[in-house]
């Protein structure tokens, strides 16, 4: 294998460009911690561009990688994990190109999205195998610790093939953190977990991040990350659509116009009444339905029943029409 490339020397053109994008620096700005650096990273398959010119730097703390299905999250994560080479640009872990340098795996742990694990092994054997493959001198001790961290002590001697979906996710996390990596990449880790397991996992990830690790979690469900991540990368169609503070992104998502479809005993009169409301900024009567757009969904949903009752109109149905994550993302991109 060739010697690790020095980032600055290898990419003189991209490095200044990266530094100028201060807004794309994600996480604590503190130095010395592990760092995942992407400079104009792109990846295409034939004519299909999966990841398009992404530059950012991910530093310790929890970072959420959000985006609808097919946005390129997994491709980006696989590039960070050194499983895919970037078609253009660079992806580096602590200044070493991620692809083609197996040494980075002492620093990086990956929880793949696919559920598959070696079903013929017991949970313990699976985690211990990962410890041995990491060439840890204290494989047994590390295995104990990792299994305890995900709370699978009791099930550790059962074959992984008998595990539930949530247990498989947890044993995968145990396998990924058995060598205490400073960078932990998790592809949709909450899939198949019940709320209790989710909270337990969130607490574990918080602890790991508090120790100064980079924890990157991908998800297509905004709400599932709750207030877990302080920092967010939003991907749409292979591009970085938004990045920054989680609360800020969330506010943008909440403050966007919301659409509702209303059916009532008198749509025409209800529409006229609603138009007088300051929170409503457009109404439309079509196909026997009343479509309402509002900037403040909370105020609107609270005032609608009161207005209908005062006007003596019976409400049949109230339905939000654009709550899919895709529409939220496309709103963000359009800004």
């Amino acid at each position: 294998m060739s010697a690790p490339a020095t980032p600055v020397a290898a990419h003189p053109a991209t490095t200044p460009a990266l530094d100028s994008k201060a807004g794309d620096r994600i996480g604590d700005a503190g130095s010395g911690g592990p760092r995942v650096t992407l400079a104009s990273a792109s990846r295409w398959y034939g004519n299909v561009v999966a990841v398009n010119d992404i530059s950012c730097s991910i530093t310790p703390g929890i970072t959420a990688l959000l985006g609808p299905n097919g946005a390129g999250k997994s491709t980006l994560l696989h590039m960070m994990a050194g499983l895919l080479s970037p078609s253009a640009g660079s992806v580096e872990i602590d200044g070493i190109a991620a692809f083609g340098h197996p040494g980075i795996y002492r620093t990086v742990g990956l929880v793949p999205e696919r559920e598959a694990v070696h079903a013929m092994l017991t949970g313990r054997e699976f985690v211990r195998m990962n410890a041995r493959l990491q060439e840890l001198s204290n494989a047994d001790e590390a295995t104990d610790k990792a299994i305890a961290a995900v709370g699978l002590d009791e099930a550790q001697h059962r074959r992984v093939g008998t595990y539930s979906k949530g247990m498989r996710q947890r044993i995968k996390v145990a396998a990924a953190l058995v060598h205490e990596p400073r960078v932990l990449l998790l592809d949709e880790p909450f899939n198949g977990m019940d709320p209790g397991q989710r909270m337990q996992m969130a607490a574990l990830l918080r602890r790991l991040a508090a120790d100064g690790r980079v924890v990157l979690i991908s998800s297509h469900i905004l709400e599932e990350l709750g207030d877990l991540a302080a920092n967010v990368l939003v991907m749409v169609d292979g591009r970085l659509a938004a990045s920054g503070d989680f609360r800020e992104i969330r506010r943008l998502m909440t403050d966007r116009p919301h659409s509702f479809t209303v059916r009532s005993s008198d749509d025409r009169r209800l529409g006229a009444t609603l138009l007088a409301e300051p929170t409503v900024y457009s109404i439309e009567l079509a196909d026997g339905e009343l479509r309402v757009r509002t900037m403040d969904r909370g105020a609107f949903t609270r005032s609608l029943p009161r207005l209908a009752r005062d006007a003596n109109i019976r409400l049949h149905e109230l339905r939000p029409t654009d709550e899919s994550l895709e529409s939220v993302f496309s709103y963000l991109v359009a800004r």
């Binding site: 491709t75 499983l83 070696h118 990491q134």
Partner: protein, 249 residues
């Protein structure tokens, strides 16, 4: 590290290749020649074929001709194929291992597993038939030839297992088309057939055996054998090093 093989990778590969179901199948294959020998032994007139001629014929046509490539294709393509089918190869790739270490470890396991299956397949029929005129040293020569077969077949089927998800089908096609049909029809194709190399090795060690007449010279075996061994492993290492696995992982 710089060790050529990784013991944990080998352990995993053995565990994958010998799940109980496959272990039973392998055992059945391994004792099949013994069953055939027992049938011959129990047959009253034996069709006028002497024991040593029968044994040699079975070694050449059945053990070397069928069982050896069958076992090699199962274990050789399975060494990577099982991980690719399940999507579990990723756990080996995100480790501080060189990819050539992964290839060499799995190659060694495929060779060993095939060889383990061949031991009872060769030894048991000889024991059942009674030592007769076939000496132990000539049985050893069959074992040596089969050993060469394990090494070469695995060098073909390991890269095939990395390159294709249908490796088992392609491997079986290779055996049937190239080794069975073509080498019987076209004389030149014999110099591409691992089975012929095995027969040549057996013949060379024994110093001549009437029933195992080889069609290729030992120099061909050396040249082609080296090309297959080096080329196959180099190809496998190249394939795995370039392995990018978003979907297939």
């Amino acid at each position: 590290m710089s060790a050529p093989v990784n013991r944990t990778v080998m352990w995993l590969t053995f565990r994958q290749l010998f799940v109980p179901r496959r272990l039973v199948m392998a055992l059945l294959l391994a004792v099949l020649p013994a069953l055939v020998a027992a049938l011959y032994h129990a047959h009253p007139n034996r069709n006028g074929i002497s024991a040593d001629v029968f044994l040699d014929g079975m070694y050449a046509r059945f053990v070397v001709g069928v069982l050896l490539p069958l076992a090699a294709v199962l274990f050789g393509t399975g060494a990577f194929g099982l991980d690719l089918d399940e999507g579990t190869l990723v756990y080996l790739l995100v480790k501080p291992l060189r990819r050539w270490q992964v290839v060499l470890s799995r190659y060694l396991v495929a060779v060993t597993a095939t060889a383990l299956l061949m031991v009872p397949a060769i030894l048991l029929p000889w024991l059942i038939m009674g030592t007769g005129t076939t000496t132990f040293s000539s049985v050893l020569s069959v074992a040596a030839g089969a050993g060469v077969g394990c090494i070469l077949y695995s060098a073909i089927f390991i890269p095939l297992g990395i390159a294709s998800k249908r490796a088992l089908v392609f491997g079986l096609l290779y055996i049937v088309v190239l080794e069975e049909v073509m080498s019987n029809q076209i004389e030149g194709a014999k110099s591409l057939s691992v089975r012929e190399y095995v027969l040549s090795v057996i013949h060379a060690i024994r110093g001549g055996a009437p029933t195992l007449v080889p069609h290729v010279s030992m120099s061909t075996v050396w040249v082609m054998g080296t090309i297959i061994f080096v080329g196959g492993l180099a190809l496998a290492i190249r394939k795995l090093s370039a392995f990018e696995a978003a979907e297939r992982l």
